[in-house]
Amino acid sequence: MAWTDKRPMSPHLQIYKLPMTAMLSVMHRGTGVVLSAGSLFLIWALAAAATGPESFALVQTVMSSWFGYLVLFGFTGALYFHLCTGVRHLIWDLGKGLQLQSTKKSGVVLVVIALTLTALTWLIAFTAG
């Protein structure tokens, strides 16, 4: 059935500013989809390592390019973000922290933790490598 009503639908996303809780929720789902696709890269790397040094050399070349670093950096950031929002979901499943004020507070805390974990991982990567 065609939608004929010209009035904006609620929530009208171009006008309505999503609250942080909604933004984090959308990003949790978005990063989940992105990570699913990114996990294919891990399998490619494993299959290449199982095939031999020549195949793995290609993985290494791709990973050590600026584009590879950009993807890896985005991937770790998305991974830790999804992990932190996921942990919050598990806490919510226990019936804790569901009040509006605590969701706002935990939202800020989880973003800080995700950024810290991302920075820590890359700090180790650059000092080890």
């Binding site: 789902r29 989940g32 989809v33 990570l35 699913s36 996990s39 294919l40 891990l42 399998i43 790397a45 494993l46 299959a47 390592a49 199982a50 031999g52 040094p53 793995f56 050399a57 290494q60 990973m63 050590s64 770790t76 991974l79 830790y80 992990l83 996921g86 942990v87 979901h89 598990l90 499943d93 974990l117 991982t121 890359w122 180790i124 990567a125 080890a128 490598g129």
Partner: protein, 131 residues
């Protein structure tokens, strides 16, 4: 027959109602998530701590029994969790029933295929010896 039953006659005939398994998707989604918390952190920090990401370093790391076992668990949990998550996303946004079913089956097949490739690769690296 109990006339006070809350189940509709049609529901009774079709055998609908509680099958004692309605929470399975929900529970497995959470349990794989729980397992992935330590596995993800282990995986990221192990790779980050490698002096370099070349063939010898990577395969030597993976050949240790602990790394190989945790890697196998990571693969299984990741793609099980990804399948359950993507299924929910498809169910939410794809309204056409035929397309929805086809998409969910496709995602399931891809997740199984990809995780088997990963598992076979890990096994080959462990038992294959130095390539």
């Amino acid at each position: 027959m109990n006339s006070n039953s809350l189940r509709s006659p049609l529901g009774k005939v079709k055998g609908l109602g509680s099958a004692k398994s309605g929470t399975e998707h929900f529970m497995v989604q959470r349990l794989t998530a729980l397992a992935l918390i330590p596995l993800t952190v282990w995986f990221c920090f192990s790779l980050a701590a490698m002096p370099q990401m070349d063939f010898e370093t990577f395969t030597a790391w993976l050949r240790s029994p602990i790394s190989a076992s945790l890697m196998i668990l990571t693969i299984i949990m990741t793609f099980y969790h990804a399948y359950l998550g993507l299924q929910v996303v498809i169910e939410d946004y794809v309204s056409d029933h035929a397309v929805r079913l086809a998409a969910i089956i496709a995602i399931q097949f891809i997740c199984i295929l990809v995780s088997v490739i990963g598992l076979v690769s890990v096994v080959k690296i462990i038992v294959g010896g130095p390539a």
